[in-house]
Symmetry: C2
Subunit: 456 residues, 2 copies
């Protein structure tokens, strides 16, 4: 939901652009925050986005706007612009933002822009670009504040005052001669110790850190659990390589939550990229194939029970509700367990307890809705073959059995996938749907043959 | 997923507690971080949690552990302990943590603990407890750093050095005589301006702030969008009342993501609270009632088409797959739109574009799976009444129509709810399920009567 303020900004910009009132647009952009401009640009068309980029007040505003813009729009906005125009924009970004923006461009343009940077900067970027973008290495910034462990408190304070980026210097990292991370000192410790105390005497040496290939989700979890403003990242030799700051941690947490939600529904972030029909179709079709297979299996099984259906055609009327209730309670349970595994609320150790409880909830829910449906069956099919009691018992018990089984399957599947180190968010949905369809039909016609079949 | 390290901690603690090796437990707890202890406590039983709380090294460790503990466990751990034991623990927490912890206790104990605090502190807590816990007022901390706007840079630096909580003083807030928030100064601006510059001359006066009743999700969005380390909170008169710091913002983002995911499946956070079967049942039953109603509607409709089914019993076999494919593509689409609305990727303005695209994706997916299913029907029901062509056409076109309608309904429903200011995460699921069931049956038997019915 766009806030009122941003909606006004968007509408005003669109109106002014349509009128060609460039000076007004320039003035409005000069007064607006790049983060807001980037959000509004999502809702404009390609041509308008490029016009806005042209009319931004200076290269710094262009740099900030590009940094905040959705990844897939970056390439579109900078396409076909001369290197001389883009180089100063990229040069005014911080190293980790440079790496993020450059990774959205095609290889040729990226290399041209890297070549246009200062040699030292270019090297830094090339190193950052080598890491997987979803790891600590891929999101870290090389602008950290590290000092040798024998530095005194006074020297550290002086160094801090001389540095440009004081706002991001939340912690001082102590390193030994070869550059290994050996401790962390808070700003508070720095000012409360006598000026001659070396860092080594006031530092916390049990440092919470990530390695360059730690998954970004794990880095975010460290920052959240220990309330850190920055997580230091070391390479495989233990040398300090960068830090992941809290603002990037927030982006990771938001992205990962979205990714998990979409994965459970068989979609991904491309759902929001432009309006490409074909790409969306390709991402979503495979996941639906599992549903299709489950439906086909149900169809084959129903075909096998054709003679029973012919005898009691009323049975067909309850197939959707038996499968639907099972499917929904299974999906509910699976969602609870998958999210619990992602947030650490559910873990292997308590997995069994949750499975037992979910089965219990399935029994309760199944009893409630089974009784309700049996009641309806009595009322509607008083003249069913085998007597109304048979049909009512069949549908009631089927709902109970199908909801109980589904709750168990919904809880068990993600726990098993987690144990096998398969992402439960991806695999659970299709497996649960298919299993529940097959189990539901078997249970339904099995119960029917017990209570109606013999009499039909 | 609990990390290896925490799993070891949990198992060791359990082993030592079972053996009654108190000294070893004490030593292990002394070496562990309170945040880790709090996570591990989730997976222990009630008695073990209380033992651990007893064996923590000091009141500060007890305070930190309580602060990090899941809300519903707090009451359990402190129950039946004497006030003299709890008061010093609560006293050593920061004001916002005190309010959080106290809000988990029953009224009697809460009041006793508040009475045991210093009068000034007690008043602060009582004020905080009055705000809705899901608003800026409910999560803010009253420990901010504000100075009159005429304070000079030198005086501000001196004040900053004299304060105890330097780590959380990310920004200096400038206030006027009556205490209204009039500007914000970064630490960087403070050190780069001449010592005699007053705050009013270096401050950013266009301050991004929240009011005490701003929804916590909106506060988190502000912090994330503008990369703020703290969001100032003002009361309705514009007077600075507190700040929401970045660590609380992270907690909000994680909680809200979990809440959204669970809401879409008709569950809520109680899913993780203890193992209460009954509470879980009550939360989940109403949402499933919508599914039940949808299933019942499908059942009534199928009953109405009984004569058609009697003529062509093979029709029954394809009911689950027609409804299942529709239901799944509808849920997929709804998930994409609901999450897009929550993250701001989808907004009223582009809603129509998304709806058109989703319908298009539905047509593509429906064509693919319709052709596949028609192929199966030809192969399996070569001897169907009305000829195999009729049944194949019926199932193929039904899948196409059902998936297309479902995609449209799945996209439209959350957009409409958003427009009506109803939370799309709660309302969408049941509506889509029910609509899709009813539409699916109508489409299926409608198509069947066109291609088979007349011949059957």
């Amino acid at each position: 939901m766009l806030s009122q303020r941003l909606q006004v900004l968007q509408e005003t910009l669109q109106k002014l652009l349509r009128r060609g009132a460039k000076t007004h647009v320039e003035r409005l952009l000069g007064r607006s925050r790049p983060a807001d401009i980037a959000v509004v640009m999502r809702f404009l068309d390609d041509r308008q986005r490029r016009q806005i980029f042209d009319l931004l007040p200076d290269d710094e505003a262009r740099a900030e706007t590009l940094t905040e813009l959705d990844g897939h729009l970056v390439g579109e906005v900078v396409a076909d612009r001369p290197i001389e125009e883009l180089a100063p924009v990229v040069a005014s970004m911080s190293a980790d933002d440079q790496a993020d923006v450059l990774s959205e461009l095609d290889d040729g343009l990226r290399q041209q822009l890297i070549d246009a940077l200062m040699p030292a900067e270019a090297e830094e970027i090339e190193e950052l670009l080598e890491y997987d973008p979803e790891t600590a290495g891929g999101i870290m910034s090389p602008d950290y504040f590290a000092l040798p462990e024998h530095t005194t408190a006074r020297e550290a304070i002086e160094a801090l005052q001389a540095t440009e980026d004081v706002e991001m210097a939340f912690y001082i990292y102590a390193v030994d001669e070869p550059g290994h991370l050996v401790g962390v000192v808070s700003l508070r410790a720095l000012v409360t110790h006598p000026p001659n105390t070396p860092l080594s005497e006031m530092m916390e040496s049990d440092v919470i850190s990530a390695t360059v290939d730690t998954d970004q989700e794990e880095v975010a979890r460290l920052a959240a659990r220990y309330n850190l403003l920055a997580v230091p990242v070391v390479d495989h030799g233990g040398t300090l390589a960068g830090i992941v700051t809290i603002d990037d941690v927030i982006d990771v947490i938001r992205e990962e939550a979205t990714e998990d939600i979409l994965k459970m529904a068989g979609a991904d972030e491309t759902a929001y990229e432009g309006h490409s029909l074909w790409k969306n179709f390709r991402v979503r079709a495979p996941w639906l194939f599992a549903t299709w297979l489950g439906g086909l299996a149900a169809s084959v099984l129903i075909g096998a029970f054709e003679s029973q259906l012919e005898a009691t055609v009323a049975l067909a009327a309850f197939i959707p509700i038996v499968l639907g209730m099972g499917g929904n309670v299974g999906a509910q349970t699976a969602t609870i367990i998958v999210r619990g595994l992602a947030t650490g609320r559910v873990s292997g150790g308590v997995g069994l307890t949750y499975m037992v409880r979910e089965t219990g909830v399935g029994v309760l829910l199944g009893s409630l809705y089974g009784v309700l449906l049996a009641g309806y069956a009595v009322f509607r099919y008083a003249d069913a073959p085998g007597g109304v009691g048979g049909l009512a018992l069949t549908v009631g018990l089927s709902i109970l059995a199908s909801m109980t089984c589904s709750a168990t399957v919904g809880a068990m599947t993600p726990l098993v996938f987690d144990r096998l180190h398969v992402d439960p968010a991806v695999a659970t949905g299709p497996i649960v749907t298919t299993t529940v369809d097959v189990l539901g039909i078997l249970v339904y016609f099995g119960t029917a043959s017990l209570f109606i079949g013999n009499l039909g």
